[in-house]
Symmetry: C2
Subunit: 330 residues, 2 copies
């Protein structure tokens, strides 16, 4: 069993980010840090899918502009989203005359796209790459679960897909947050079949990647100010802490989950936020700010994804999950 | 406008491949080269989607075995497919305890996954990576168009999604076909809205990438034994040759399209093969054999993808497309 951790010796860095989020999301902790706060989650578009695409396009442009660059100074866009055939990312990329790599890692996309961007920049194959992803509550809900019009009751273990997007400009030079390593995850399936219980499905994947990271790097949990998971929610985070603790790794003290913290009040009916946009928004607004201002020095960003589809669930399959980790330091 | 071509100085190489194809596909030119010829396109599974996943899993394992390796000697799998949430690739990866990067480029996936694999290997981030993709006629048809049971008439401009998969083991050492460069494509949309006319939709993307490649590398068409596109089909290939010719690049003499050559007889009702499996099977069987045995010395492999979904088409969007090119030489 090889070492899953790869090291970016040339230290690609995130020199700028951009974020956008819906009204519900901006009521919470990220409200003060998000670049664009939407008053209306339709974003002036006629469908939720088009709104999601526009959010993604906005943060890609935002990350480029915040780095003081123009579109033609960017070598590549690495992006994906939750929609079938990642149409938000593909259609957003259509607006840019920039080479595009589409990735799919469900809600792990922010970490996956950062790792891929860092690999190209580290290897001298690209100088500046935008990594971005996003999600929209309404488009995800109707694709993965039920049409909103049905008004289905949400079970207590469910999470709320974040309406938001985040983008990061990864560069070979400049001042920013360094991406020093990544631990790419394996597909892990513990047999969960409840499509409303993503936290429980994804927690074993997060545990697997986090354990692989500390096994491979021989670092201690204390070397990190935070171990940030993507969207496990409250229940999934509890499961993750149990699973890692059972294997002798105690992450209790510095673990935080983007899904658990994104909403102001975790209401009774759900476990927190989820969706590719969840960790993308929290990382590229709140966490990036804390890293750039020195409150955080080094974090392990572990975005988690559930790789199911309605077809796979309909055919009786359980939910395979994945988690990719990137080390971010300042 | 930057140079879209990236160079892999350390020459990652494809040291082994594996392919599988359905009965209809094996009647044609690839029949003699495919590793596993299926007598039944259900492949012993209960659904088309599960058969597609099993095909992908088979070629990943096959590429590893043909390289004389074991699963635990592989650092990463880079894969994607056409199904919603790339379930074939994700579920195939579940069988392997190997880090997984999911990519989405529709039918351009073989080139995209090879380019990503080469980037990781070239940069010293991985030693051995499997790049793989596939498709299945029945799963694609019912997802993108109509249930087969409807028995819809196929229009003359339509293509036939290939039932097949191909995998390549990209290594930092060993004897094989070198991946010396890649030109990553931009998303190009000429406004085609006919979901049965993928060739016309994708031809401008192929032209854009091929033109960018020759502009960037300053090479001549004659430097290549073949310029191989993925699945433009007969009509799309004609359009591609017109579009490049208009821009002063004559590729007529050495252009060939995997979709145009994969079936034995191009019947009246369609333009040839398509699907992510089309170029994956042709490259990893027939073309790889020709490269390894010296009949071909250097080819430009340009896989093309149509980045639509049923939702995007339903919302009135045209079809954005992409083409990624990799230089393969022996």
């Amino acid at each position: 069993m090889g070492n899953q951790t790869i090291y970016f010796k040339h230290r690609p860095r995130i020199i700028a980010t951009s974020t956008i989020a819906g009204p519900k999301e901006c009521e919470g902790i990220i409200g003060r840090y998000v670049e664009t706060a939407l008053a209306d989650d339709m974003f002036g578009e006629s469908t939720y899918e088009k709104a999601e695409c526009k959010m993604l396009s906005t943060v890609i442009d935002g990350a480029i502009a915040n780095a003081g660059l123009h579109r033609d100074e960017v070598d590549m866009i690495v992006s994906g989203d939750l929609l079938n055939q990642i149409i938000s990312a593909s259609f957003a990329a259509r607006d840019f005359s920039v080479p595009f790599l589409g990735v799919y890692g469900a809600c792990s996309t922010m970490a996956e796209s950062l790792a891929v961007a860092a690999a190209f920049v580290n290897g001298g194959l690209a100088k500046r790459v935008v990594a971005a992803t996003g999600s929209h509550f309404a488009s995800a809900e109707r694709q993965y679960r039920y049409p909103l019009e049905l008004g289905c009751t949400r079970p207590p273990q469910s999470q709320w897909t974040v309406t938001g997007a985040g983008g990061a400009l990864v560069s070979d030079s400049g001042d920013g947050v360094e991406i020093s390593a990544a631990t790419l995850g394996k597909v892990v399936d513990f047999g969960i079949t409840d499509v409303n219980n993503m936290g429980a499905a994804m927690a074993p994947a997060a545990a697997d990647t986090i354990l692989a990271h500390f096994r491979g790097t021989k670092e201690d949990v204390e070397d990190y100010d935070l171990i940030v998971t993507g969207d496990l929610g409250a229940l999934g985070s509890r499961i993750l802490k149990d699973l890692t603790w059972e294997k002798g790794l105690d992450i209790n003290k510095n673990h935080v989950d983007c899904g658990e913290i994104i909403y102001n009040v975790i209401e009774d009916e759900y476990q927190g936020g989820s969706g590719a946009g969840c960790s993308a928004v929290v990382l590229n607004s709140y966490l990036y700010h804390k890293l750039m201002t020195g409150s955080l020095k080094k974090i392990l960003f572990v975005a988690t994804g559930a790789l199911l589809s309605t077809v796979s669930s309909g055919q009786g399959e359980s939910i395979p999950c994945i988690a990719h980790a990137v080390v971010l330091e300042r």
